[in-house]
Amino acid sequence: MHMADTLISPAVGGIMWAASVGAIAYSIKKTGDDLEQKKIPIMGVMGAFVFAAQMINFSIPMTGSSGHIGGGMLLSILLGPYAGFLTMASILAIQALFFADGGLLAFGCNVFNMGFYTCFVAYQLIYRRIIHRGFSAGRIFTASMLTAVIGLQLGSFSVVLQTLFSGKTELPFAAFTLMMQPIHLAIGIVEGLITSAVVVFIWKARPEIVERSAQGEPIGNVSVKRVVAALAAAVVITGGMLSWFASSYPDGLEWSVFNTNGNSEIESSGEVHTTMSDIQSKTAFLPDYGFKVPEEEAQQGAEGGGERWPSVNAGTSVSGLVGGVMTLALAALSGLAIALIKRGKKAGAA
């Protein structure tokens, strides 16, 4: 479920970064002195554990396939939501840097999709509610199952929204949702099964570990609700803003691939589509959405003022292609040249 840099726009990435940084800062504050002292080494080592445990294949009876442990829920059950969330964030950072799972820009999205929903929403609203009535293997199972399924549903839906608002790939909302949600329902059930098996085992062997973290934390319920409410509001507002941007950009009215000095033109399904040529839009952070002429106006322009949008100029398109090939060739050559010069130096020194 890792979101990749290439699928999101800087705006979506930036907003999710801001939301995640906020949640991280809040968690650090909440864990406070407790975190400073006792919890850091436990969080650090537990993060590494989740990394290693994710590599274990658990075979799923009667299906012939295997499942994996997820991180967020196990961590919040054992460390509490705040420490669990922080640990998840550092796992995601290492995955992005070393393993190309997710990316630096998408880090915020991933922390939100895989950490926030599980640790703060699903864990707080479901796991704690159920466990509040006391521990039993049955309750741990129910709580883990529901938390895993709902956490993953929220996370995967969030992936759909982030992809959609970014507009980097053409996927109808309904089709994308119908594809993501059922897959993650299955993944959630498997994760719930495995996590509950592990938690029940720990609870039987060392009940204090599981019970301490569930009750021990004097997280006033009010403040948790406040965080959830504040972040939900932030999501709604930014979501609303983004969808406004997204809807104000007409379908298909896009930058030209072969946009050369603004002189090219694209024909799409027989309709005349237009391209933008002003520098302002090129420097815009949100090239897909921002500073665009609304659809009607653009089409009017296209129909009304033929001279503003000159006819297809094969020459400029071809020159674009030639230039592209040249650029790549130059890049490859300069790489080779540097390598050769270095080898020469080494040989000279030796």
Partner: protein, 272 residues
């Protein structure tokens, strides 16, 4: 098991790569981090049908690989592992996007263009994150994070997780070997750990991990740890570091503003 071996190899590879002493390795980690972030922002700010204008961005990984003396194949391999998801998302474009572009008289489906753009951007952004670690290393990246005011607690925890990944992966590999040696003969559905051992196998490992966490905490306390994590101070950036950052940022900005390949193409086709 192969997963674990591969991951351990990956961590070792990046560690070795980061310990070379080339010009780029000696650049200040903060400059390298900021350059990489700018790069990713610029790359991801291109529109979904952009291909040609973003091609000059290829220079950045090429230069880093060459100057940093980083072996290409392991990085490329790691990159390919990230491929399926991006390719999967990309390949859906031609299904849903029926627009057509005409390029010099040839018609190309807009969906295919978007797919290609997605894959190229994916390769570039993934590559830049991997290269950042390959030329900087985890410990210096952590120092850079401290300089950028990331809270101590978070940085220390990040470093501890990094440190113990290899220890715990080796431990997990040993447990799995012990399990497989005794359980592989049994018939069951698929490979992997059978249901009756789910809780106990992972649970035992987890209990041992918690024990280790206690000992690590003890070791930290015994050396005067009081909740504050004190990194060695990093020297401030010098002219060379600032120049490194400035040159890349200017280059990325130029790529964003001007369609460089088109200009080169015009020049060539104009001359011909």
């Amino acid at each position: 098991m192969t997963n674990i071996t591969n991951s351990l190899y990956t961590i070792r590879f990046f560690d070795m790569a980061a310990r070379k002493g080339t010009f780029i390795h000696r650049i200040h980690p903060v400059a390298k981090l900021l350059a990489a972030i700018t790069y990713i922002l610029v790359a991801s700010s291109f529109g979904k049908y952009d291909i040609i204008p973003l091609l000059p961005l290829v220079f950045y990984p090429v230069v880093l690989l060459a100057v940093g003396d980083i072996p290409v194949m392991p990085v490329a391999k790691r990159m390919l592992l990230a491929g399926p998801f991006i390719a999967g998302m990309g390949i859906l474009n031609p299904l849903f996007d029926h627009g057509v572009f005409y390029v010099g008289g040839v018609s190309i489906g807009a969906g295919w263009i978007a797919c290609m753009s997605l894959i190229i951007k994916g390769a570039l952004t993934v590559m830049s994150a991997l290269l950042l670690i390959a030329i900087t290393g985890m410990d210096k990246t952590a120092q850079a994070l401290r300089m950028l005011k990331v809270p101590r607690a978070f940085v220390l925890q990040l470093l501890l997780t990094y440190r113990y990944i290899s220890v715990l992966m080796e431990e997990t590999a040993r447990v799995l070997t012990a399990y497989n040696l005794r359980a592989s003969a049994r018939k069951g559905s698929g490979k992997g750990v059978k249901k009756n051992a789910w809780g106990s196998l992972a649970g035992q490992l987890l209990l041992r991990t918690l024990g280790r966490a206690e000992r690590v905490h003890g070791a930290m306390l015994m050396r005067g740890f009081n909740g504050e994590y004190n990194t060695g101070e990093l020297a401030p950036m010098n002219i060379k570091d600032i120049a490194y950052l400035a040159i890349w940022v200017l280059f990325f900005a130029a790529v964003r503003i001007y369609n460089i390949p088109a200009l080169i193409g015009l020049l060539i086709t104009g001359v011909l």
